[in-house]
Symmetry: C2
Subunit: 330 residues, 2 copies
DNA sequence: CTGTTAGCGCGTTCAA
DNA sequence: TTGAACGCGCTAACAG
């Protein structure tokens, strides 16, 4: 009934060559006569042959898989943070065409070092680290060289990041140039390298515009935006522009402003960071610094596939401002 | 330098048993003496042994992986649809503890049948189908029995779905009971089984409340909500309640209402469907029918792991209403 | 209960 | 350029 899956052996037999030759043809090796090559491909077509991934993995020593590794609370964050989805999207687009797959590991904080070690051991073609703190990334990197961190990490750990500081600067400059007179910020998570970059960009742009940098601490979440805004409004009722460290935070800002009776963009202009789909879904549509997450993830993936990463592999991608209604001139 | 990874052989030797016995112990087989079992685990600990997944996969015939299969446009949808993230979240939580991994395949429409066949061939423990139309799901199911569809599918295809009709009904009833007098709908994608269920729920609840069902067609996207609302407002300026087929659509409704100068919930009450994080992030926070996506995905995953699915495996989960500000009494 | 023996399907030497 | 042979690490029959 169930026709057994054809193996390389079968292909070789049908093509009148040995299994080894068939293997060479299929693996793209160049040391084969055009004649044999043709016969093998023909046989493959004829038999409907498909390589057995497990067997190949065993023979080669590692499977054709890119491992995405995220440290977070699986239940909560994966479902409510567009960032991760964008990363996957980028990986998958880089994988399209190749027969490499994507595997996802979400690791929760308790016991993260051990779990990371476990994963490091089984990594396939390479691993992408997301939201992995520098110390853990370094540890991982020591166990598995085929790795790239999304966002700046420990020295020696390959990474790709966005121009966070420059992005934040351009956001603030935009606000002042379009007539705002007092721009404040709700920052990201303390210690996070992206947050730090954006904070310093906000800082320098404020100073350059002749203003004292005013900001509230945050944590890349909705509540941070909401609470921070309430706090800032109380201390600075005359503020007319807000820079949020991420779109989710910006959503919180939006709600706080609405509850306080301030209109966006009429009374207060708002700029977020990420330019995730939240920005385009918000009312009013939100101006946001575009972090090219998909692009960055794809870049890293391609580098891993080509095994061109190394301790000094680093990329920094531009983060252009995406202007929408939330920052329209008053 | 690099100490070779210990193999089962090594473990057996260290424990004074054969490789086979060591394998039995580790694979949880019960046919081993407590004595041997203890010595093997001890050796495992001692050597830091970890099974080679590829080898195991080859020997067993399939790898320890759950395959998530989505048909959509990778670039666009994965990054902008919370639904998929929630599915992954559910799968991962069901996988926590086991040493099974999750693999993700996003297949784009052109050439979907072939791509699905490819994936069907390499499925590990089982596959979860998301957004795969019934015909394709049936085809897949014919090639790989270890499968569950998220959302009702073709007959004979195991599935888990939410009580779409009941959820929609309760949403509409809620609106009428809290004083609304003309509730309309923006529906989901034509032909989609979830959309159909919600549509019929809206329909019956409207009729029961003594109203003619009024709705606009949609497609589970932001634009649908926006355009549909504009259209409905034009034809029915007296509407004071809107049921949207999904949260994303509801976001579009929100924007259209805002642009038309209608206040939510003062002038118009709004209820979405899904209760994704969009609902809690929106301003005002959105009332939504909770689709327990994570739970459903976890359920399916556990069933696959226990291989307790079969052609007649079906689950229907309740979809309770989550009330927030967008439907507060006027 | 345990050890022995075959494969699982493929990559990769090493000669020819 | 090609083929034969070995090994990857593990599971599953089959004897004992």
């Amino acid at each position: 009934m169930e026709a057994k899956k054809p193996t390389l052996e079968d292909v070789g037999r049908a093509a009148g060559v040995s299994r080894a030759t068939a293997s060479r043809v299929i693996s793209g090796g160049r040391k084969v006569s055009d004649d044999a090559r043709g016969r093998v491909w023909h046989a493959v077509e004829l038999l409907g042959y498909h390589p057995d991934l497990a067997a190949r993995a065993l023979a080669k020593g590692h499977s054709d898989v890119i491992d995405l590794i995220v440290i977070d609370d699986a239940a909560v964050m994966l479902g409510s943070n567009p960032y991760y989805s964008r990363v996957m999207s980028g990986i998958l687009s880089a994988l399209a065409g190749s027969d490499t797959q994507m595997r996802v590991h979400v690791i929760e904080q308790p016991d993260a070092p051990r779990r990371l070690d476990d994963v490091a051991r089984i990594v396939g073609v390479g691993a992408l680290l997301v939201n992995v703190p520098p110390e853990l990334a370094a540890r991982f990197s020591a166990r598995c060289a085929r790795v790239v961190s999304l966002g700046h990490s420990a020295p020696g750990v390959p990474s790709v990041e966005a121009e966070n500081a420059e992005g934040a600067r351009s956001a603030v400059q935009h606000l002042y140039r379009t007539g705002r007179r007092k721009v404040v910020a709700v920052h990201g998570k303390q210690g996070n390298s992206c947050a730090t970059g954006r904070r310093s960009g906000f800082h320098s742009a404020s100073v350059e515009a002749g203003h004292e940098p005013i900001g509230a601490e945050g944590g890349f979440c909705l509540e941070a935006g909401f609470d921070g805004t309430k706090e800032l409004l109380a201390a600075h009722p005359d503020l007319d522009g807000i820079f949020a460290a991420c779109d989710l935070t910006a959503m919180g800002v939006l709600r706080a402003l609405e509850e306080s009776g301030r209109r966006v963009p009429d009374d207060v202009a708002l700029v977020g960071f990420d330019d995730s789909f939240l920005a385009s879904v918000a009312t009013p549509a939100m101006t946001s610094v575009r972090q090219p997450v998909e692009h960055m993830a794809a870049l890293a993936t391609r580098a891993l596939l080509a095994s061109e990463t190394g301790p000094n592999w680093h990329r920094v991608e531009p983060a252009p401002l995406q202007i929408r209604r939330s920052s329209a001139a008053a």
